[in-house]
Subunit: 161 residues, 2 copies
C-alpha cells in the first residue's frame, strides 16, 4: 500500500477499520440468534438470517479478492454447512482475506473503475461502499428479527470486539 | 471548499453525492408507508417509522450545520406535525441545509476532531459515517416494516431521484 502523505477525507487504513468495525458488529448479531431461528426465522416473506448472511459472505471477501487481484470471477453464493458455527468460521476467514487484500490497494486504486464480478462496473470506492452499506442494511433487518424474537441486539454504536 | 488536487479515497463531492443518494432512497421509503402506519406501525416494541425518521431529521442537517459552523448545540428532537407531508417537507429542507453546509468543509476538516452536539467527540468523517450508517440501519428496519405490511419497498440500489 502506498503511504498516504496528503490530507484525505478518509484514509485507506481508516476505511478498513470502519469496514471491519461493522463486520465485528454483524458477527455479534449472528451470535445473538438462537441456532434454529438463524436458519428458519423470517418476517413478511423475507430471507432467513442464514440467507442474508450468506449473501454478505458471498460479497465482501470475494469482492476484495477480485478488486485487489484484478479478476472478474462471477458472483457465487457459497455453500455453508447448516450450523451457526460454520457461518462464524467463514466470517473470520473473510475478515483475514479482506485485511490481506486491502493492503494491496493504493489510494489511487479507490478511484479506478472496476467491473466487480464481471457485472457491477463502478469505481472501487463505490463498490466498497456498496458492500458496507448492504451489510448495514441487512443487519438492520436482523435487528428487527431479534426484537421480534424478544432478544436484545448489541448496541449499534459498539464496533470493536 | 478547497479544490481536491491529490488522489482521494473519496472526494468531499463524491461523499456528498453518496450521502444524498441514500437520503433520496430514504425519502422514497417514507413515501411508501400508508399515512396511518407511518405513525403507528411497529414490530417487537420498536419505534414507529415516524419516530425513526424524526431521529434521522434530528441528526443529519443539524450535525452538518454544527460541524460547518463550529457550534456545540445539544441534540434536540424536532417537533413535526403529524402528517407524512410535513415529514417530507422537513426532509427536503434538510437536503438543502446539508448541501449548503457541506460546501464550507475543506478536505482537511474531515480529519479534525469535533465534539458533535457537545457529546460525540470524534473526527468529522467518523461523525458523518455515523449519520449515514444510522440512516441505512434504521431504513433497513423500515424495509421489514413495509414487507410485514405487504408493501414492496424501493430497490436498495436505486439512489437517484
Amino acid at each position: 500500500m502506498n503511504a498516504t502523505t496528503t490530507a484525505q477525507v478518509i484514509s485507506p487504513e481508516a476505511l478498513l477499520q470502519h469496514f471491519q468495525g461493522h463486520r465485528s458488529l454483524t458477527r455479534r448479531v449472528i451470535e445473538a440468534f438462537p441456532e434454529k431461528d438463524f436458519f428458519e426465522f423470517s418476517i413478511g416473506g423475507m430471507r432467513t438470517p442464514a440467507k442474508l448472511v450468506t449473501e454478505m459472505l458471498s460479497i465482501a471477501a470475494p469482492a476484495l479478492q477480485a478488486i485487489a487481484n484484478g479478476d472478474n470471477n462471477p458472483y457465487i453464493e457459497p455453500k455453508i454447512s447448516e450450523t451457526k458455527q460454520a457461518y462464524l468460521e467463514r466470517w473470520d476467514e473473510a475478515t483475514d482475506l479482506i485485511n490481506d487484500n486491502w493492503k494491496k490497494l493504493s489510494v489511487e486504486d479507490f478511484g479506478e473503475m472496476f467491473n466487480l464480478f464481471g457485472q457491477y462496473n463502478f469505481r472501487v470506492i463505490e463498490n466498497i461502499f456498496y458492500i458496507i452499506d448492504n451489510e448495514i442494511h441487512h443487519r438492520g433487518q436482523l435487528y428487527v428479527y431479534l426484537r421480534a424474537l424478544g432478544i436484545t441486539p448489541p448496541f449499534f454504536w459498539e464496533r470493536e470486539r
